[in-house]
Symmetry: C2
Subunit: 212 residues, 2 copies
Amino acid sequence: MTEAPALHRGARSRDAILDTAGELMSLHGYAATSISMISTACGLPVSSIYWHFGSKDGIYVAVLERARTALLAALPPAEVPGADVRQRLDTFLGDLAGALRHHPRGVKLLLGLGTVQKDASAAALTEVRRYRDALVAWARDSVSSVFALHDRPEVADELARFTLRMTTGTAVARWFEPDAVLETEPLRVALLALAAHHGVGVRVSGGRGAES
Amino acid sequence: MTEAPALHRGARSRDAILDTAGELMSLHGYAATSISMISTACGLPVSSIYWHFGSKDGIYVAVLERARTALLAALPPAEVPGADVRQRLDTFLGDLAGALRHHPRGVKLLLGLGTVQKDASAAALTEVRRYRDALVAWARDSVSSVFALHDRPEVADELARFTLRMTTGTAVARWFEPDAVLETEPLRVALLALAAHHGVGVRVSGGRGAES
DNA sequence: GTCTATATGATGATAGAC
DNA sequence: GTCTATCATCATATAGAC
């Protein structure tokens, strides 16, 4: 058991460090998470952590990168399946709520670490932004697919921003009331109304037209 | 000039410390803001800071308390004036956007410090929660006034949650894109649609009925 | 109330044996 | 790759003159 090949030992240790570092940092924030906290929490000595990541900043970047790839892998494809708008919208919102529910750390990492402007360096800021941009792009593509907005990019942008901000707000609400969830029902109503407001037809059964 | 009465000197120093502490903490977060940073930024020695607030936690609580009262004073009264729903809604959203625009620190303090679960102690957590509760109550009362929902508290709660989460999401978006604003237009459309969805009539001119 | 000076501990980071 | 031992620095917090 303890005689596992060294190569595997290294990879497993790296993963263990990232696991506990991600958990602690998403809980306490970057600055409040010390290397020794990570060390005692994951059992590996401080110097091993430094051997793997070089610096605290390096841990942070690695944690973010991993959270990003994990969340993006968990998100449903941007090409939302479904016959009509309402069907696709339900699928999209359900998947979004599910991702938020099952990956609370991912979002909280972005949020709790968004305050990192002093400690973290260029590489970390780049990684934070990359994470954020990936989410924005995914939301835009998904919304565009749901409402068939390929020829109305500005409408897709607005709906995506709207959705993403509501999701972010919910993630924040969650650290005050841990059982808060993304309320898909109001969001569904709102998005349909917004689409209609921009003249994007929905009319599947007794649908009402646009406003202006 | 330097001979101002000692009593005034003390109060002014207290304010100066709170000013810079609030700014630094909203920028870097609680943990990343050190006493010496505050000291050099506001010119007063470390021991003066301790004389006024006793501990770092004490500074934090005072900063939060001050941000709360400042924000609540800046928020418009919960009894929104206006003849009809649309008029009141416009007033409400305009005021909300204005408060968010002019008091970015207030919200960011709540957010950037929401990660404070390890360092800050009971008093600080209480103050954070008090801050948050005040915002929630204000939003609920305002929305209730706008849509005349005094007999539909659960609808008022939902609309208030919706509004507040969108506002929070926007505040977060702001530390990625500093020029992000609360988009009142989509929010207006969404809230009207949500109200209608719950059977709350708006119909002022060509209004459409509820969905179900 | 404000200052200088300082105690005590924790932090990020490294050296070097194995 | 992992360990023990250690350094220099910075943190919070205090003492005591003025």
